[in-house]
């Protein structure tokens, strides 16, 4: 009788496999079951104006914050990389915002943004600006921009760190060859540095984009999605639906849409970067 042999290492990986199944696979299957229990959960997504508003705002926030953080991070990485002295100091100093827990950063910014007692308006008043109508997170038109600013402040260092490491990893020979051939600084950056940095850029953008789509803690503390729905994002809405309204099925359905959108976005980004 031809019995199939169990691979030799299987008993050793079994405990890890069981933990993985219990903590990742089972909850995923359970949430599919929850979402599919009522077909209305998926049809409601198309008529729910709040979900639509939250989705649009999540996209706007992700694209805006990602673009700003990427360009700032790249500029800072290039600047610090070109320094002859003090590289370590600037690298450490620039990482400080990222080291703060997001909740702490959000609480600090909430105090900074306070229209009457905050340090931001206080400084502007001291400089002679009229601040009566600068309401930052409390204004319908300024709230989303204020949230983006906090995210840029906290997470630009992350992109700076990755891009800086990418720049360090570029071998010096191609750069020297380009210089010998008479290429200028812009030409070297466009034709040598940027193509060699591309794998790092893709990784950095992917990681950051996935994190931005899930943004929760900063908004929860800064604005709670307001004023009105000015800063409502999908994750905030999912949290409320699941844990405040106890509608786990609908929350699970929204989570799957968010997951699918994130996967599509990541795939699109990868394709776009490969195509160039």
């Amino acid at each position: 009788m031809n019995r199939r042999r169990i691979p030799e290492g299987f008993p050793w990986v079994l405990p890890s496999l069981l933990v993985l199944l219990a903590l990742s696979i089972y909850p995923l299957i359970y949430s599919v079951k929850l979402a599919a229990a009522d077909r209305g959960n998926f049809t409601r997504l198309f008529t729910d104006r709040l979900f639509l508003t939250a989705s649009i705002q999540t996209i706007v926030l992700t694209i805006a914050a990602l673009a700003i953080e990427f360009f700032l991070g790249l500029a800072l990485a290039l600047l610090v990389d070109s320094l002859a002295r003090g590289r370590m100091f600037f690298r450490t100093a620039l990482l400080i915002p990222m080291l703060l827990p997001p909740v702490v950063a959000a609480v600090a910014w909430r105090l900074i943004y306070n229209p009457q007692f905050g340090v931001l308006n206080g400084t502007l008043r001291w400089l002679g600006f009229h601040t009566a109508h600068l309401t930052w997170t409390s204004g319908e038109s300024s709230a989303l921009a204020s949230v983006i600013l906090v995210d840029v402040w906290e997470w630009t260092p992350f992109l700076f760190l990755l891009l800086s490491a990418g720049l360090q990893a570029i071998p010096p020979e191609p750069l020297e060859a380009a210089r010998v051939d008479g290429a200028g600084a812009w030409r070297i950056f466009r034709d040598v540095t940027l193509p060699l940095l591309k794998p790092t850029i893709v990784l950095a953008l992917l990681l950051r984009a996935m994190d931005l789509v899930r943004i929760f803690d900063q908004i929860f503390i800064l604005t709670q999605g307001g004023p009105g729905t000015a800063t409502e994002t999908v994750s905030l809405y999912i949290y409320r639906t699941a844990f405040r309204f106890s509608n786990f099925g609908y929350a699970a359905a929204m989570s799957f849409v968010l997951l699918a959108a994130t996967m599509l976005f990541s795939r699109g980004l990868l394709r776009a970067m490969r195509a160039r």
């Binding site: 109508h133 309401t135 204004g139 307001g226 004023p227 009105g228 844990f243 405040r244």
Partner: protein, 408 residues
């Protein structure tokens, strides 16, 4: 010899196993002043009864999640839970019925929210913290401008204008961040103007009195600090404590801070009163904390013994001294406590007339939806009528989806 020793050891082990099992209680409390008092009471009860007490202290939002999960899945993780009264209709089906009715010393508005259905059903909880909104105003400035205590919302508006112009401070301050914040500040106005959120299974928050109440709120907003559409309780209280605003709706939890020289620039200057009225008498929102035993508790008998003990007059007095507003009339009227807490007469009057939020299991979702549109109106993004029409539309959808609403 070795066998004898082994036999003795086994006998001792079996004896210890067959003895009376140790009593134990797991209690879920709110991480805040309300929870601190219950936590201290639990420790005291545990020592007196040789019971092992485990206190799970959670922030407000997490407390609801954890309790709700435990109740619906009947895991028996908690033997006693502390719950905010608007959560009660959602949790009622999974709470154990009290073995005996509470006594009549409790303020009736607090007792009514412990029954399911509201006012008429069986008792499923006991009231522990007697929170009801109060009206805070600067007595010194009212005297300076020869204004009587505000009895109506029109009085409030007149005073806000006069004090605001005369003192160069904000005449009024309110919170209009979406969700609970703006709804809590709007409800007393809505009720005073004769409006409501829902009637049975029908949303009525766009009725003419409701539109008038929201217009009045925006009028008051002209005397509030810019950006109030994003304010929560801490911003409102900061303005009162710093002396940059003259009036607001607030909760008893902030009373102590007003008279604390380390936090306040207006010590002794703030007066606390019942909510102003308009067409109808003034009523504040009720926000009582209740204690209850989950149906899935594995130590229900001990849990009931503890909650009855913790809400007895002697224990409630201890909780009051730790900063909790009581739910018993006798504690509010105790002369030594009135001497210590000058706001007690106003708090009792406010608690006796307070109104709970509509008794529906869907209140969290309704409040969220209502709050979004109220916040938009306060921010100037929507006209009051359009905002209330949109809110009514949204609330109606929630009600139709769930069909479980009852009206207080």
């Amino acid at each position: 010899m070795r066998n004898v020793a082994l036999a003795l050891f086994l006998a001792a082990f079996l004896l210890s196993c067959s003895g009376t099992p140790q009593r134990s209680l797991t209690i879920a409390v709110n991480a805040g002043v309300e929870g601190t008092a219950l936590k201290a009471a639990a420790r005291q009860w545990g020592q007196a009864n040789h019971a092992r007490i485990e206190v799970v202290e959670l922030p407000y939002a997490n407390l609801f999640e954890k309790e709700q999960l435990d109740l619906t899945s009947r895991t028996g993780a908690y033997d006693v839970i502390m719950l905010d009264d608007p959560w009660f209709p959602r949790m009622a089906a999974d709470l154990a019925r009290l073995p005996r009715d509470p006594d009549s010393d409790f303020v009736s508005t607090c007792l009514e929210v412990c029954r399911h259905p509201y006012k008429t059903g069986a008792y499923l909880a006991l009231p522990y913290v007697g929170n009801a909104q109060l009206f805070f105003y600067r007595k010194d400035l009212f005297e300076k401008y020869r204004l009587g205590a505000p009895k109506t919302w029109d009085d409030v508006l007149v005073a806000a204008k006069k004090i605001g112009e005369g003192e160069k401070i904000y005449g009024y301050v309110m919170r209009a961040a979406p969700g609970n914040a703006v709804v809590a500040d709007f409800m007393p106005l809505l009720w005073a103007f004769g409006g409501g959120v829902m009637e049975g299974n029908r949303a009525i928050c766009n009725s003419p009195p409701a539109v008038e109440a929201l217009r009045f709120m925006l009028e008051l907003g002209k005397y509030s600090p810019p950006g109030y559409a994003g304010f929560n309780a801490d911003e409102v209280s900061a303005h009162l404590l710093q002396g940059t605003a003259a009036m607001s709706i607030n909760w008893p939890a902030w009373i102590a801070a007003m008279d604390d020289p380390a936090k306040s620039k207006v010590v002794g200057k703030i007066e606390f009163s019942q909510m102003p009225g308009e067409r109808d008498p003034g009523v504040g929102e009720l926000g009582a904390w209740l204690v209850a035993v989950p149906a899935g508790s594995k130590h229900a008998a001990d849990a009931f013994e503890f909650i009855y003990w913790a809400t007895e007059p002697a224990q409630m007095k201890q909780a009051a001294l730790r900063g909790n507003p009581p739910t018993r009339r006798s504690i509010f009227q105790s002369p030594d406590l009135i001497a210590k807490f000058r706001s007690y007469p106003a708090q009792l009057a406010s608690l006796e007339s307070a109104r709970p939020r509509p008794r529906t299991a869907e209140w969290n979702e309704i409040e969220n939806s209502f709050g979004i549109y109220l916040s938009k109106a306060n921010d100037g993004a929507m006209d009051p009528r359009a905002a209330l029409n949109a809110a009514a539309d949204s609330i109606q959808k929630i009600l139709e989806r769930n069909e479980s609403a009852t009206h207080p």
